[in-house]
Symmetry: C2
Subunit: 346 residues, 2 copies
């Protein structure tokens, strides 16, 4: 690409990580030169420029690219960028992440529509059902995040106005927004129960999962930390789906730490930051509450997951594939929960 020279890349807080060499070596061994090479620029965290920020579009495209990478169709490098840095502004002239670059073709895609179209075409070319249409799923998930934001704002506004740092209940002005959110989560839970599939459309991940999984995780983390909202543990199929996310390499790899998610929403809501939160080792909550797990076991859904795994779906946190994708975040070993270490280039 013409307009991002080496100096700019260095100045974008990008640190090369040793284990990325795996990928380079693979490609140097020949025979794979026809694979498209794609660079995805994602928003860095406001806490630390070297860490992944909580940009939902960035994670969505990262997951889609990961799905293509995982089956050996593309080479991908992900780079975190500080959108406020002058070198970034000058290099990308007003464009904001996610930005997709194909250096070999000197192409840059800065519009979500263009990025999706490019990924769509690669998937189509190789008959990968990543963009399979499902109108029921589409309708079911489309307003979820919007409803969450309405609720989050209503509740945090209420807390601010009433000088409450934490408020576990649902005050009456917030009830409509709260109920709307819970109703939609319940309807997604029902849909998942009807489908009985690992992912929304079937046994493999599609664009709908790349859209829903990050949003559900944001709802869980920001909801819990900023307005004492917990996704009801009775929504067993929904929690089981979140467990699937936490066992899907594409999700884990692209997921920001809890602190980075909270920072993002605090910034947007104008809430005060507590510096000590950001000094702690970054944490990624990728386990589910005991009660929800118990409910899953009681319904035998955990056995379905295991059965699905035996069928050869490699979307698992322990997938060997995951070790090779090259993430230039320079993150200092983000710590995940036991047994679910973030893979890639930690």
């Amino acid at each position: 690409m013409d307009n991002v020279d080496e100096n700019d890349v260095t100045s974008l807080s990008v640190t090369r990580v040793d284990s990325c060499d795996h990928l380079k070596m693979n490609n140097a061994s020949g025979g794979e030169s026809v694979k498209p090479f794609l660079e995805l620029f994602v928003k860095a965290s406001g806490v630390d420029n070297r860490r992944i920020g909580a940009c939902l579009f960035c994670q969505e495209f990262w997951m889609e690219l990961y799905a293509l990478y995982e089956i050996n169709l593309v080479r991908v490098e992900v780079k975190t960028v500080n959108v406020n840095s002058e070198p970034f502004k000058r290099s990308f002239l007003g464009a904001l992440p996610p930005i997709l670059v194909e250096p070999d073709k000197e192409l840059m895609y800065t519009d979500n529509r263009e990025i999706e179209r490019r990924i769509f075409h690669i998937a189509k070319e190789f008959s990968v059902p990543l963009f399979e249409k499902d109108i029921t799923v589409d309708k079911s998930i489309e307003s979820l995040y919007r409803n969450f934001k309405v609720f989050l704002k209503a509740k945090t506004d209420y807390m601010r106005e009433n000088y409450q740092v934490s408020y576990a209940g649902v005050p009456s002005p917030v009830v409509p927004a709260h109920n709307k959110l819970v109703e939609q989560l319940t309807s997604i839970d029902k849909l998942l129960a009807q489908r009985s599939t690992r992912y929304l459309v079937g046994s493999t991940m599609t664009m709908y999962d790349c859209e829903l999984m990050p949003r559900l995780h944001h709802i869980r983390i920001a909801g819990q930390h900023l307005c004492a909202f917990e996704i009801p543990h009775t929504l067993v199929h929904l929690w089981n789906y979140m467990l699937t996310a936490y066992r899907t390499a594409a999700f884990i790899e692209s997921c920001p730490a809890d602190q980075d998610i909270n920072y993002h929403y605090k910034e947007q809501l104008g809430l005060p930051h507590r510096q000590k939160d950001y000094l702690q080792t970054p944490l990624k909550t990728h386990t589910i509450p005991d009660e929800a797990l118990e409910n899953i076991k009681q319904l035998g859904l955990d056995k379905l997951v295991r059965a699905s795994r035996r069928c050869g779906h490699a979307h698992d946190a322990l997938s060997a594939h995951a070790l090779a994708i090259c993430v230039h975040t320079g993150a200092r070993k983000p710590v995940g929960p036991k047994g679910a270490n973030p893979l890639g280039c930690p």
Copy 2:
């Protein structure tokens, strides 16, 4: 919409303009209540929050909505928003313009893909060929703006490094980027010559025009002011197409002033601002150079335009429709060239 209350709207530098009442009265007269009502939030200028900023995606969607509005399918209100204001950040929680809102349905679209999908569905519902596919056009225009940005950066970098405020020639390190840009402009000129149509696909405006017209205008204005680049006057069909843009209400209405375009690129390039530029009355250059106009006349293209107008295409600056669209920018009568006054709510 739940999460933008009246206070927020007031604080978004939105000024109600008297002539908007036309639209309200029309709707109050009954029989039109089924028309979708859409609010488009566009980025305000950095010079003046009440003026339209130079956001290409905003203008693209604005033009598309205008096309639907013009044939009486939707009601539209456009509002400029200061993306740096705290009320805006809190209301939209991290989303950036363009943002499309359907207040009656409590829906908000913050992703370009969603916005396009919504406009696409309205156009499809009423069989408006706004999204007609044309692969030749698609290929022909897709990298133009990218190529311009590469050139603009290369040339302004050169000027900065060589302490030149203005440099009319093309210094050798900039030649490749300059040639690539001119080549693509030339190929679009050729395509337009082959087609002999008023717009890119035919006699009415499509999404491709909504994409290309604003980009060509940015290339013209920012190119001329920031790096002494002039679209060659020999590209007669291209200049004729720009003349069509300057006579298309959807374009004129949604077009930022020259100062606001220049401000946008200076910001991105880190170039110094000259305060006196922004104190002048906002100017919209919607005329074309004499030499280009002469060439158009010699080829008789001006007659084609007139013939096309007689065919009943209402995409003209003098269209009576244009008086009713409601633009909440509070802009203080931006001045256009003689005979091409911006319409709508000036």
